[in-house]
Amino acid sequence: MKCNFIKIAFLCATAACIMTGCKKENEVQPQANTEECQTTMLRYAVDGQWHTLNIASEQELRDLLTSLTQLALQGHTVQIDQPGQDTPSKDTVEFETKDEEEFIEWGMKMAYAGYFVTMWYDEETDTLHGTATKK
């Protein structure tokens, strides 16, 4: 009788745990408060056209990678890059902005770092594009 009581209590506890969602210690839970949420900036390019995206969750990153994989499978050229490095280490760095001063600052920084800077202007989007290539 005592044994049955323990079994029932255990089953009830298990059921309650399943229904509420078992929270283990040290498990990383999604942040409900968006202000506390950590974001990572990611740059990606499709056929050489660069875009910047703030990734706030693993799911967003997964979605982006799925989309990029699909595009790559369709024959598009896909590149991924993490920006924010003051000293560029890559052979080619691409940059685009609508802000002329920002573009000048970037170009001078790259030129002094020993890069060959090529630039063009997209009138339709009013965007300055630059490519810095290591000499």
């Binding site: 050489g48 000048i104 170009g107 030129a111 800077v117 090529t118 630039m119 009138e123 490519t131």
Partner: protein, 150 residues
């Protein structure tokens, strides 16, 4: 008398500086397929002047030669397409005299700027001494790029 002496002194002091520009100009001016000009004290803005040698290729073959000679970046398909659409692709590069054979022979110091336009098949070599000159040249390249497209 003092004034005359000062002018002579200034002239002789400026000779070594001008020598590299002249050597560079004379070296490329003999090429028939290139238009070459030397501008001394070219005005970058109201207060900044700089010596510059301008080289313009008369045709695409000559421009290809300039690209090879000055080790300019070879354009990828995307940039070539832009040129074919009538848009400009400009470049800017900080170089040392050692990069250009004719200047390395002169043992010239200083920092030079190679800037220009693939659309206009033009290369300018600026003989700069200060960061301020180099910054203005780059700024002007960006401004030309935007204005030409408008």
């Amino acid at each position: 008398m003092k004034k005359v002496l000062l002018i002579f002194l200034a002239f002789f002091m400026s000779l070594p500086c001008l020598r590299a520009q002249l050597t560079f100009y004379e070296h490329y001016a003999v090429h028939d397929e290139l238009l070459v000009a030397l501008a001394e004290g070219y005005r970058l803005d109201s207060v900044t002047r700089v010596d510059v040698v301008l080289i313009q290729a008369k045709d695409s073959a000559a421009w290809e030669w300039v690209i090879e000679e000055f080790q300019l970046e070879k354009l990828n398909d995307k940039k070539i397409k832009r040129l074919q659409n009538g848009e400009d692709v400009r470049f800017y590069n900080i170089i040392t005299p050692q990069t250009i054979p004719v200047l390395s022979e002169e043992n010239e110091d200083g920092v030079f700027i190679m800037a220009g336009s693939h659309k206009e098949r033009t290369l300018c070599v600026f003989f700069t001494r200060t960061d301020a000159q180099r910054n203005i040249i780059y700024r002007n390249q960006v401004k030309i790029l935007k204005n030409k497209n408008r």
